[in-house]
């Protein structure tokens, strides 16, 4: 089995990357959280930047920074997870088409509406002819890309794969999520997310991209050991699913140093997290992140960024902690995430 090391990474979210060191969060009082603006033109040509939607911009920016950090010009493959894809262009073309009653339409937003626009644009920019995949399976979109990275690094004998998760918001379509109970009705401060006793969550836009390489470098953050996805898990079967995942990696619960949970303040579905917080992982350092960066279909890529950072820096910043248990020497970290009780992902990383 080929090993996979996190050799470069970058993230854009509603929080600055240095929150890890400063512990100072951005706070929001709206339930749709924008990503912090970046100096995009520092590494993306202004001409091309103008045509890019938020998702493409965030993804390309993160990709280039991750490559720079890994000192690589071009990856062997590009694997992207995006649950909702290019919603801004979809919305634009959809509205023009509906309002004009199928009149004369400009193809630009149609071209950019396909789910693989992000991965395609990255390939164009990097002039990368390697495999180019886009996974779009709700909250396991990024995990699906990780799974494919594990397969391809061995099967194709690649050195470096660019893997990332990205989701953008758009005015109308994200707005619809208020109507079907995905977004909380009452406005809340993001830092109070876990105290809320209501349904729904806070939605955000974010991206995180990684260079996964088969060789360890002086800059490596962590090693990714395994990933698994489950379309549906009965809450009564959650423990056994987690245990068998650990077991196939030769681990027991007590060997896990910290668990990163995708808790999002939705009364209906946080039950899954509550169960393992109070049960299996009650004596283990528990970490949350959605009170800072919100929820979206690709946000487990932020959890992967956080795990990699913790494993490299060997510290768990207070602001992410869900309990008071210390983690002095992080070795193994498990990430568990799901959305609306479906599409559960488990990812395992370890320090190097």
């Amino acid at each position: 089995m080929t090993r996979l090391f996190v050799n470069g990474m970058a993230s854009i979210s509603p929080q600055p990357e240095n929150i890890f060191n400063t512990g100072l969060p951005e706070t929001f009082n709206e339930n749709i959280l924008p990503a912090l603006d970046q100096d995009y033109k520092s590494i993306i040509k202004p001409m091309t930047l103008r045509r890019m939607s938020q998702g493409v911009k965030m993804a390309l920016f993160c990709s280039k920074r991750a490559l720079l950090e890994a000192e690589s010009d071009k990856p062997d493959a590009i694997l992207v997870g995006t649950g909702q894809g290019c919603m801004q262009d979809t919305e634009k073309f959809m509205e023009n088409m509906l309002v004009s009653e199928e009149g004369l339409l400009s193809p630009t937003s149609f071209i950019q509406s396909t789910h693989n626009t992000v991965a395609g644009q990255i390939a164009l920019d990097l002039n990368c002819n390697g495999p180019n995949m886009t996974f779009t399976q709700n909250s396991v979109s990024f995990e699906s890309a990780l799974l494919d990275a594990m397969l391809q690094i061995t099967d194709e004998d690649f050195n470096n794969i660019l893997v990332g998760g990205v989701d953008e918001t758009s005015k109308e379509i994200t707005g619809f999520q208020k109507l079907d109970g995905q977004i909380k009705e009452e406005k809340i401060n993001n830092l109070h997310l876990f105290r809320s006793k209501t349904t729904g969550t806070i939605i955000s836009e974010a991206a995180a991209f990684f260079i996964l390489g088969k060789h360890k470098t002086p800059k490596s953050y962590a090693e990714m050991l395994d990933v698994e996805i489950f379309n549906a898990i009965d809450i009564s079967d959650l423990n056994s699913s987690v245990l068998s995942f650990l077991n196939r990696n030769g681990l027991t619960v007590s060997e896990i140093d910290a668990v990163i949970l995708g808790k999002n303040g939705d009364l209906r579905f946080d039950l899954y997290y509550d169960k393992i917080q109070k049960g299996l992982f009650s004596d283990i350092c528990q970490i949350g992140f959605k009170h800072l960066v919100g929820e979206n279909n690709a946000v487990s890529s932020y959890a992967f960024w956080l795990a990699s950072k913790i494993l490299k820096e060997q510290t768990v910043p207070e602001i992410f902690k869900l309990n008071t248990i210390n983690c002095t020497k992080p070795g193994f970290i498990l990430i568990y995430n799901q959305y609306l009780g479906r599409n559960h992902g488990l990812t395992l990383l370890r320090s190097i």
Partner: protein
């Protein structure tokens, strides 16, 4: 490589609602191109490959409650997988069966139908998430009680070819015993108008590889294969093996293919290498051949770059079904397997004159000949190119 065994197939498209009807149409040059009747659109005279069943017809056949939230792509997928299941030895799929589905637009049909109603009508809000392709796959997974590995690939017109490739990798790596792979896409106003705005829709029946080709017809379909690991075959009939695959990016333009067919050239070479075959080992090429100026030229150039003066018999079956977008790779994988099983090559319909640039002529009438290996191409927006190679199981 020895290849991953295909032990089941199921299909629905405008040329048939099961494998037998599909084969009959392919053998008898019966295309499924017609004017839209189920899809409500202003482009009433634009030919499409439409399945003449409404969503309620499909829901009823599938025993779904009238208030179900299935997208049309999900209904078609369930319909096709039902055939696969019916012809397998299983009553239900075993619990560890995975599902990897490809789709270009997922449930956009529901988004366009209800976009302006979500605000006012509570009863249609069950379709709010339908726009995201994973929703359609979840519908399918729920229908068959598949709770394990379930994911969706969305790489435009190569989506289901990529789903097949990933499934084959999962089996070959030993990570899985059994996986349903394929894809589903339905006709929508969104795509019809999108391709219309790109000015690549033909107003007649599409003519792949013809010098006078003037665009594609959109179609809808679902096709799925069952892939199983060798150690759980138990003497089951094997329809063929996936012995080569590759994906590459043209990295040339967001929608257009490069003039030298670089992406296509790379994937075909990659698939041959994976299969440990040389170009002369390929018996038949099921081409992507959409009927657009750009694709067919680019693909022809790639074929001549690889095969030189010895391009094997090839045809595009888009003249039968239209371009079924994310489902194309899967239904053409099934056509390729039918070709292997029956030792015959299905014709490239509506071809008259070869294109001047390459002089290539596709197979134009049903041809009986020994078929040991088939190369199937699928190319998509974003420069996404995939090739699969199927071979007989012997």
């Amino acid at each position: 490589m020895k290849g991953v065994a295909v032990t089941g197939m199921g299909i629905i498209s405008s040329i048939g609602r099961n494998l037998d009807d599909t084969l009959f149409s392919l053998q008898n040059a019966k295309d499924g191109i017609s004017k839209p009747e189920i899809l409500i659109t202003r482009h009433k005279n634009t030919p499409v490959g439409e399945i003449k069943m409404t969503n309620s017809d499909l829901s009823e056949i599938l025993n779904l409650p009238p208030d179900n939230n299935y997208t049309r792509a999900a209904l078609l997928a369930v319909f096709a997988i039902n055939e696969l299941l019916r012809k397998s030895n299983f009553i239900h799929f075993p619990e560890d069966t995975a599902l990897i589905s490809g789709t270009s637009i997922g449930g956009m049909d529901k988004t366009e139908e209800h976009y302006f109603d979500f605000q006012e009508k509570k009863e249609v809000r069950k379709y709010i998430q339908a726009q995201h392709p994973g929703f359609t796959t979840e519908n399918v997974a729920a229908y068959f009680g598949l709770g394990g590995k379930v994911t969706t690939l969305s790489t435009a017109c190569s989506s289901s070819a990529n789903a097949i490739m990933m499934g084959a990798r999962l089996i070959a790596s030993g990570k899985l015993k059994r996986v349903i792979v394929g894809g589903s896409d339905c006709l929508t106003r969104f795509t019809l108008n999108g391709f219309h705005s790109l000015k690549i829709l033909s107003q007649t029946k599409n003519r792949p590889f013809d010098d006078d080709r003037d665009g594609l017809n959109l179609g809808e379909a679902a096709g799925y294969l069952l892939l199983e690991a060798d150690d759980c075959l138990n003497g089951k009939k094997i329809m063929g093996r996936i012995c080569g695959y590759g994906n590459a990016n043209d990295a040339y333009h967001q929608t257009a293919s490069s003039e030298n067919g670089e992406g296509a050239y790379r994937v075909i070479m990659a698939a041959l290498k994976k299969a440990d075959l040389s170009p002369s080992d390929i018996s038949y090429v099921n081409a992507h051949g959409t009927g657009t100026n750009n694709n067919d030229l680019s693909e022809s150039v790639a074929l001549t770059r690889i095969f030189g003066d010895n391009v094997p018999p090839f045809s595009s079956t888009k003249g039968f079904t239209g371009h079924t977008l994310g489902a194309a790779g899967a239904i053409e994988a099934i056509f390729s397997l039918l070709s292997l099983q029956n030792d015959e090559i299905y014709p490239n319909l509506n071809f008259q004159n070869h294109m001047l640039e390459t002089g290539l002529k596709p197979v134009q009438v049903l041809r009986k000949q020994k078929v040991d290996t088939v190369l199937s191409n699928s190319f998509g927006f974003g420069g996404n190119c995939t090739s699969l190679i199927f071979r007989k199981n012997d």
